[in-house]
Amino acid sequence: MKFGVVVFPGSNCDADCFHAVQAATNEPVEYIWHKTDNLEGFDCIILPGGFSYGDYLRVGAIARFSPVMDAVINFAKGGGLVLGICNGFQVLLEAGLLPGAMRRNDNLQFICEDTFLKVENNGTPFTALCQENQVLKVPVAHGDGNYYCGEETLKELQQNNQVVFRYSDSTGEVTPKTNPNGSIDSIAGICNKEGNVLGMMPHPERCAEELLGNADGEIMFKSILATWQRRVR
C-alpha cells in the first residue's frame, strides 16, 4: 500500500505524518508537492496540518485551489482514501469534499492540549480497528477548529453516522465541558457519506508511538492499512 502526504506552502505536520505512517504501517510513503496534478499509484492521501498559505483570507481557502486539489477531489470521487488532519480538514471543507465550515475557536484562543475523542463510528476505513465507543487521547493544536454546519446538514451527518469523533472526557462522556472550541454537537471529526474521506481537527500523527508517551493515534493508520488489505484481497 502506498501513502501520499500532500505538502502545501505552510504545511508543518507533513514530516510528522510521513514518520507516523511509516512507523505504524511499515508501508511506503511519499511527499506530494501541491503543484502535482497526478496521484496515480497512491492508495491513501493525507492532507497534513499547518498553516497553508499562511491561513490568509480563510483557513484552507487558498490551498483548496492548489493544482493537487483537483486531483484529490477526483481521487476521492473514485473511492480513494483521503484523511485531512487539522488544516487538512479545513482544506477538505473548503474543497467541498466534506460539508460545513470552520470558525474561530469560541474562546478566541489557540488551543494546544490533549483531548479525548469518543469514536462514534468504528465502521470507517480510518477507525476500523477501534472498539465500539473506544476513547482515544489525541492532542489538538488549532485556532480555528470550531466546526459549524446548518441544521439540515447536521441532521444528515447524524443520521448517516458521519460524525466519527466527538470531544469527550476520558470515559467517553460528551458534555459541553468536554468541548474545547465550541464545535457544533462537539464534533471533532466527520466523514463523507461514502466513508472514504475523513476530516478531523485532532492530530493522531502526534501520538502514534509509545516513545512519545502516547500511541493512541497509531490505530488510525493501522486501520487504513487493514481496510486496504481487506479490499485488495
Binding site: I62, L93, R103, L108
Partner: protein
C-alpha cells in the same frame, strides 16, 4: 477600470466570537448602547474592464468561489469606475 469594495461578514445566524469579544470590551468601556458588533473582512479588488456588467458578474463569481465562504459568510460589494 472598475474597483469593487467588498465587505464580508459572518452570516447573522452564525455566532461571531470576535464580534462578541469586541462588544463586551465596548460595554466595559461604557458604550452601553452598543447592541452588536460583527467583525469581517474588507477587500478592494481592481478589475481591468470597461464593462460594468461583466465586472459585477466577475466579482460575484470571485466572492462565491474564493473570497467568501457561503456556508458561514455573507458578502456585499460596491462597484465604481476608477
Amino acid at each position: 477600470m472598475y474597483q469593487a469594495k467588498i465587505y464580508i461578514t459572518l452570516r447573522k445566524s452564525v455566532l461571531d466570537p470576535q464580534g462578541s469579544a469586541v462588544t463586551k470590551s465596548l460595554h466595559a468601556m461604557g458604550y452601553d448602547n452598543v447592541n452588536d458588533v460583527r467583525v469581517g473582512r474588507y477587500l478592494v479588488v481592481d478589475v481591468d474592464t470597461t464593462d460594468k456588467e461583466a465586472a459585477e458578474k466577475q466579482v460575484q463569481d470571485m466572492c462565491n468561489k474564493l473570497l467568501a465562504n457561503p456556508v458561514i459568510e455573507d458578502y456585499t460589494f460596491e462597484l465604481a469606475e476608477v
